[in-house]
C-alpha cells in the first residue's frame, strides 16, 4: 500500500512531537502519562536549587522543580514545582532543599503531612523549611578557616621548633631548670615521706591553734583587741629600739673600721706587730730567766738569804 506524502509527513511529525514531550517528561522525572499538579514553596535560601531538580518524597522521585526565582515583594525565594497527582500533599506538608550544592546534586524533599487532612490545592503554598545548609556554609567559610588553621599551625611549628632546640641542647636553661625542678621534687618527696608523721602532727597543732584562736576571738573579742593593741605598741617600741640599735650598729661599725685601719690606740695595738714582737722577746727573756733559775737556784737563792733574814 502506498501512503501519500501528506500521511508520511504527518505521522513523522506527530511521532516526533510525542517522543519529544514524553522524553522531556521522562528526564524531568515526571510520570509519562499521569497528570501532575503544581505547588509553590517559599524559602529564605534556595541552596543551589535550580529548575529541573528532582522533587522527592521519602527518597522517591515524584516530580521536578519548574522554576526558582526571587519574589519581588518579599525578597524570598519562590520555588514552583509539580508532583504526581497521586501523591497526597496534604496541609502541613513541608518542603526542604536537600543535597550537596558543591556536587551539584540538589533536591527538593517533601515531607508529607497528616494523610487525613485535606490536600493543598493546585498552585498552593507548601511551607518551606529553611535548611541548615551546612556544607554551603562550610564551603563559604572554608577559606577563612583554612587561613586561621594555617596561621595557628605556622605558629605551632615555630614554637615546637624552639622547644625542640631548647630540649635538644643539654646546656639550655630549660633543661637545667627541669632537672633542678626534678631534684627539688625528689627532695620534697623524700622529706614528705620521712616527715609524714611530724607534718601531720604540725598540721594537727596548727589546726588546734587555729581552733583555739577562733575560740579566743569568739569568746573574748575585747581581750584579743587589747592584746593586739599592746602588741602594736610593743611593735612600735621595738621599731624605735631597732632604729637606735641601727644607729649603735653604725657607730660600732665606725669603731671597727677605725680598729681595722689602725687608727687610735686600740687600732695601733691591734695592728702594730712591733708590740707583739716586744712581748715575744720579753717572754723569751722571762723563759730564759726561769730556766736559769731552775738550773742555778743558788745563784738567786743567795739573794733569798736576805729574805731568810726576815
Amino acid at each position: 500500500m502506498k501512503y501519500s506524502n501528506e500521511i508520511k509527513v504527518g505521522v513523522t511529525i506527530i511521532l516526533a512531537t510525542v517522543v519529544f514531550i514524553l522524553g522531556v517528561r521522562y528526564f524531568e522525572d515526571l510520570p509519562l502519562f499521569n497528570s501532575t499538579y503544581g505547588l509553590t514553596a517559599e524559602f529564605d535560601n534556595a541552596g543551589g536549587l535550580i529548575a529541573g531538580n528532582i522533587v522527592r518524597v521519602n527518597g522517591v522521585a515524584v516530580g521536578s522543580v519548574n522554576a526558582v526565582y526571587i519574589s519581588e515583594e518579599s525578597g524570598k525565594v519562590i520555588v514552583d514545582f509539580h508532583v504526581d497527582k497521586n501523591i497526597p500533599v496534604t496541609e502541613g506538608s513541608e518542603a526542604v532543599v536537600a543535597g550537596f550544592d558543591a556536587l551539584g546534586v540538589v533536591r527538593l524533599e517533601l515531607k508529607l503531612g497528616d494523610p487525613n487532612v485535606p490536600r493543598i490545592p493546585e498552585g498552593g503554598l507548601v511551607s518551606g523549611l529553611n535548611p541548615g545548609d551546612l556544607i554551603g556554609q562550610m564551603t563559604e567559610r572554608a577559606p577563612e578557616m583554612m587561613d586561621g588553621a594555617d596561621r595557628v599551625l605556622g605558629q605551632l611549628e615555630g614554637v615546637l621548633a624552639e622547644a625542640n632546640t631548647m630540649l635538644a641542647s643539654p646546656e639550655s636553661d630549660f633543661r637545667q631548670t627541669l632537672r633542678a625542678v626534678q631534684g627539688s621534687v625528689d627532695e620534697v618527696e623524700t622529706l614528705l615521706s620521712e616527715e609524714r608523721e611530724r607534718i601531720s602532727d604540725i598540721l594537727g597543732n596548727v589546726d588546734r591553734l587555729t581552733a583555739d584562736l577562733d575560740t579566743a576571738a569568739g569568746e573574748d573579742g575585747e581581750a584579743v583587741t587589747a592584746l593586739m593593741d599592746r602588741l602594736n605598741t610593743m611593735m612600735t617600741t621595738l621599731d624605735a629600739d631597732l632604729e637606735s640599735y641601727s644607729a649603735t650598729n653604725e657607730q660600732l661599725q665606725e669603731i671597727l673600721r677605725k680598729l681595722n685601719d689602725g687608727d687610735g690606740t686600740l687600732g695601733m695595738l691591734i695592728n702594730d706587730p712591733s708590740m707583739y714582737h716586744r712581748l715575744d722577746s720579753t717572754l723569751t727573756g722571762i723563759n730564759a730567766l726561769v730556766a736559769d733559775f731552775q738550773n742555778n737556784p743558788e745563784k738567786y737563792l743567795k739573794e733569798m738569804k736576805l729574805v731568810d733574814l726576815f
Binding site: N5, I13, V19, F27, E28, A51
Partner: protein, 254 residues
Amino acid sequence: MLRNTPAFILNPLQALGRYSQLLFHAFGAIPEFGTYRKNLWEQMVRIGVESLPIVMMAAAFSGAVTTVQTSYQLVFPLIPKGIIGAIVVPSMILELGAVVTGFILAGRVGARIAAELGTMRVTEQIDALEAMGLNSIGYLIVPRVVAGIVMFPVLYVAACFVGIGGGMLVGDLGGFVPIGEFVDGAREFFQPFDPLFGVIKSLVFGFTITSISCFKGYYTKGGAEGVGRATTQAAVASCVFLLLADLVLAVILL
C-alpha cells in the same frame, strides 16, 4: 570606489547581497501557498522522512561512542556512574543531536538541493518556469526551505531519542553503567531548557542548510561542471555556516 575593492572582499559581499535578495523574494512568495503546496509535501518527505534512517543511525553511534568515551574518561572512583548519563544526555540534546543531524543533512539534503536546482538552471528549466509565468522562487525554493525548517526539528528529536537510547544500551550491555543509574544521573542534571535550545538550534540549522543550498543551486553557472561546483559548495558552505550558527546560538542562548 568599488572597482578598486579586491575580489576577496567584493565576492562575499556580492554573494551576501544576492542571498538576501533571494530570501526576500522567497519570503514574499510564502503567501502563495497554492504555488508550492504539492511540492512542499514532496520536499518534506525527501528532506525529512527519507533522512530519518541515516540520521538515526549516525545519532545512535554518536550516543554510544559518547557513553563509552565518557566512562573511559571518568576514572576517578568517587564519581558516581550516573554522571555518565548526566554527561551523555545533555551532550546529545544540546550539541550532538542537532550538529550530527546537521552535518548529515548538509551532505545528503544540501547537495541534493544544489544539484537539482543547478541542473534545472543549466538546462534552462527555471527559465522555462518563469516563461510559463510561475514564480520560480516560490515554486522551487520556498517548499525546500520550509520543509527544512519544519522537518529538521523532527529529525533532531529522532536523533536525540535514538542517540540517548543507543548510549544507554551500549552503557548497559558494555558494562559501563546500568540503565537505571544512567537515567538517574541524567535526571539529576536535566534542565527543561536544554531540549528547547536543541529545537531552536535545529530550526536555525534547517533554515541555514536549505537556504544556502537553494542559493548555490539557483545561481549555478556553466553546465555540468558548474552543477558539480555548486553541489560541493552547497555542502561545504552549509557545514561552515551551520557551525557558525551553532556557536552564535550557544553564546546567545546558553
